[in-house]
């Protein structure tokens, strides 16, 4: 269990770096509330982007994106709403993204899906 959490942490850090490299500004990470947790909040021009990061060390349980179900997307939407209430962010448009981080045979493969809802 510990190693899975560590893997998730590493994945999130890699995802944040990936976003920074692609011109995003990461403004929040691992933000909690009663509903759950948002992995990364970043801005992309006038978009406020909420990112769910999924990390896997192999695909024997399926592709990372396959575990982002519609109910998880619905929860992300509620979380985004609560984040905005807590940290007022006028003038931005909201977007939900997903990033998959796949460690396979010593390589890291990052895929980024935009506007998943």
């Amino acid at each position: 269990m510990q190693s899975n959490q560590a893997l998730g942490r590493t994945g999130e850090t890699l995802a944040a770096e990936y976003l920074e490299n692609h011109g995003y500004a990461v403004i929040d990470r691992n933000w909690h509330c009663r509903t759950g947790e948002i992995d990364i909040v970043a801005t992309d021009q006038n978009y406020l982007v909420f990112v769910e990061v999924k990390t896997r060390s192999n695909t024997s349980f399926g592709h990372p994106f396959e575990s982002v179900t519609t109910s998880k997307v619905a929860r992300m939407r509620r979380l985004a709403n609560e984040w905005c209430l807590a940290k007022a962010s006028p003038g931005f448009r909201i977007r939900l993204d997903a990033i998959s981080v796949l460690f396979c045979s010593g390589q890291v493969k990052i895929e980024h899906l935009k506007a998943i809802s």
Binding site: E66, T70, L113, K114, I116
Partner: protein, 527 residues
């Protein structure tokens, strides 16, 4: 965004429409939606196709996948779309070297391991596809038998999905196909696709033959006339007099089917959903079909039916052949009456919520009946024990309109002598001679036998000369109705053809009147 296309065929009855399967990989979370009015079996295709693709070692797109079956408003049924869906999806991510979407068709069901399974109606589907400009079709190896019958398009048998994508020239190296079922042969595909498309004469199978019948000369003569002119027949007689025996031999003296007719009949058979029925077609497919439904048959079993896609019934399985109703008076009245319209039009339309399915049903009707419930009203080994009301009720099963369409009514009695009849092959030769005479007479038209010629036209263009006075006399004395007159007219020509006369003689016409018989053939008081 990536798009993939492939073609499949959607059948409804005997008519088919080519369906374009479009697969689109969009930028969304992984998911698979199949749209375009699929039924349940087709909706489940999603799971089969995905498992099959992954199990042969190819990548399934991890994005939002939408597969559309166009035309979207047409309802689609069954599992035959699996192959086209798989290829459309694979085409979004892989390149195929030898695949032209435009005139290539895919038919087949996928197993989870990638095996390609046979489906029903492939022959009917391919015939329709050929009409719609399809040039090449990939079909399950197990359906190969029936597809050997057609040459309008190139048929490529495929045993499994690996085999298929390799034949399409996929640009990745694949491992050897491993079936989940060890009994499945994975690579044994017989490449011999040629079948002798002609009735072979050295066919050794046993067929019932008229030379096994003794002393029923008149009856056999009647059946020969029926075969020569395409006339419907009624056989009435006591139990055990050989009605069934005769009817079974009747199909044997009909001319062999032409290639087109054999194809049509085979296509109808495949639509009953028995894909292995024609696994190894032999010259048997040129035998006129013989369909003998039991008398408990429902209307749907007789004319065709079923949901959601209507399947052909007994009358369509008898298309180009014989429909034999043994114990005709035991059938339910609606079943018998349902025959009237197909008898006239030669086809039947079955109307369902999803559409109208038309099946050809150009059959020759042979009815066998007892004259009453006990069977001995016309004589025989016992005395009849039925009372008048019982007899009337029994006779009324065969309605006037139905009997009117039956040109030859024969009473079957005990064998008159022990003389052995001519063999079926000699009789068949006489039938062919007679049909050729009729054909050369009607060469400017497309009537193949006398009963197909409209009565008025026959009387105007092909008068029977002075001998007609015999028919006139029968009509004037009330023995023949107007329709009866017309039918006897056709019979006269058929008999003339059989006897090699250029015009019906007095003897031919009197023979016709004899075989036309009475309008209430089950009634012992009418002679």
């Amino acid at each position: 965004m990536a798009l993939g296309l492939a073609k499949a065929i959607s059948m409804f009855g005997m008519s088919g429409r080519v369906v374009q399967v479009e697969a689109e990989v969009g930028n969304g979370l992984p998911g698979f939606s199949l749209i375009g009015l699929p039924d349940n079996a087709l909706s489940e295709s999603k799971e089969r196709v995905k498992s099959a693709v992954q199990n042969i070692g190819l990548k399934w797109p991890q994005r939002k996948l939408t597969v559309n079956l166009s035309p979207a408003a047409l309802k689609k049924f069954g599992s035959g779309f699996d192959l086209a869906i798989a290829i459309a999806v694979l085409a979004t991510g892989y390149r195929f070297r030898n695949f032209s979407v435009k005139n290539t068709l895919f038919i087949g069901e996928l197993g989870l391991d990638g095996k390609i399974r046979p489906i029903g109606g492939v022959l009917a589907g391919l015939l329709e596809a050929a009409k719609n400009g399809i040039k090449r079709a990939y079909v399950p190896t197990d359906n190969l038998g029936e597809t050997r019958l057609i040459d309008q398009l190139e048929i490529i048998p495929v045993a499994n999905l690996t085999d298929l994508v390799e034949k399409l020239g996929i640009e990745v190296k694949l491992r050897k196909f491993q079936s989940a079922d060890p009994s499945v042969e994975t690579n044994a595909i017989e490449e011999n696709l040629n079948i002798e498309l002609a009735a072979s004469s050295n066919d050794q199978r046993y067929r019932p033959d008229f030379n096994e019948v003794r002393g029923q000369g008149t009856l056999i003569r009647g059946l020969t006339i029926a075969a020569a002119g395409g006339h419907h027949v009624l056989l009435v007689g006591p139990p055990g007099s050989g009605k069934t025996m005769m009817a079974q031999r009747f199909a044997g003296i009909l001319p062999k089917l032409t290639v087109d007719q054999a194809l049509e009949s085979a296509a109808l058979t495949t639509l009953t959903g028995r894909p292995t029925l024609l696994a190894t077609p032999t010259s048997e497919i040129f035998d006129p079909p013989f369909s003998a439904p039991h008398h408990n048959a429902s209307v749907s079993a007789m004319v065709g039916g079923g949901s959601p896609i209507p399947a052909p019934g007994a009358i369509s399985l008898a298309h180009n052949g014989v429909l034999f109703l043994d114990e005709a008076c035991e059938f339910q009245i609606p079943v018998l009456e349902s025959l009237r319209q197909p008898l006239e039009s030669g086809s039947v339309s079955i109307i369902r919520a999803a559409g109208v399915a038309s099946f050809p049903a150009n059959f020759q009707l042979v009815l066998a009946a007892n004259p009453c419930p006990c069977g001995y009203a016309l004589g025989g080994l016992k005395r009849c024990e039925c009372n008048h009301a019982q007899k009337v009720r029994y006779r009324s099963k065969l309605s006037g309109p139905l009997l009117d369409r039956v040109d030859i009514r024969l009473r079957v009695g005990a064998p008159g002598s022990s003389e052995v009849s001519e063999g079926s092959s000699e009789l068949a030769e006489q039938v062919i001679q007679a049909r050729n005479r009729a054909l050369s007479r009607y060469k400017s038209e497309n009537w193949t036998h006398n009963s197909a010629v409209p009565g008025q036209i026959l009387q105007q263009r092909y008068p029977i000369g002075k001998s007609v006075k015999l028919l006139d006399a029968a009509r004037n004395s009330g023995k023949l109705s107007m329709r009866g007159f017309e039918r006897a007219y056709k019979l006269s020509w058929t008999i003339a053809d059989l006897n090699g006369h250029d015009q019906p003689t007095l003897e031919d016409v009197s023979e016709a009147l004899y075989f036309r018989g009475s309008d209430s053939p089950l009634d012992p008081s009418s002679e």
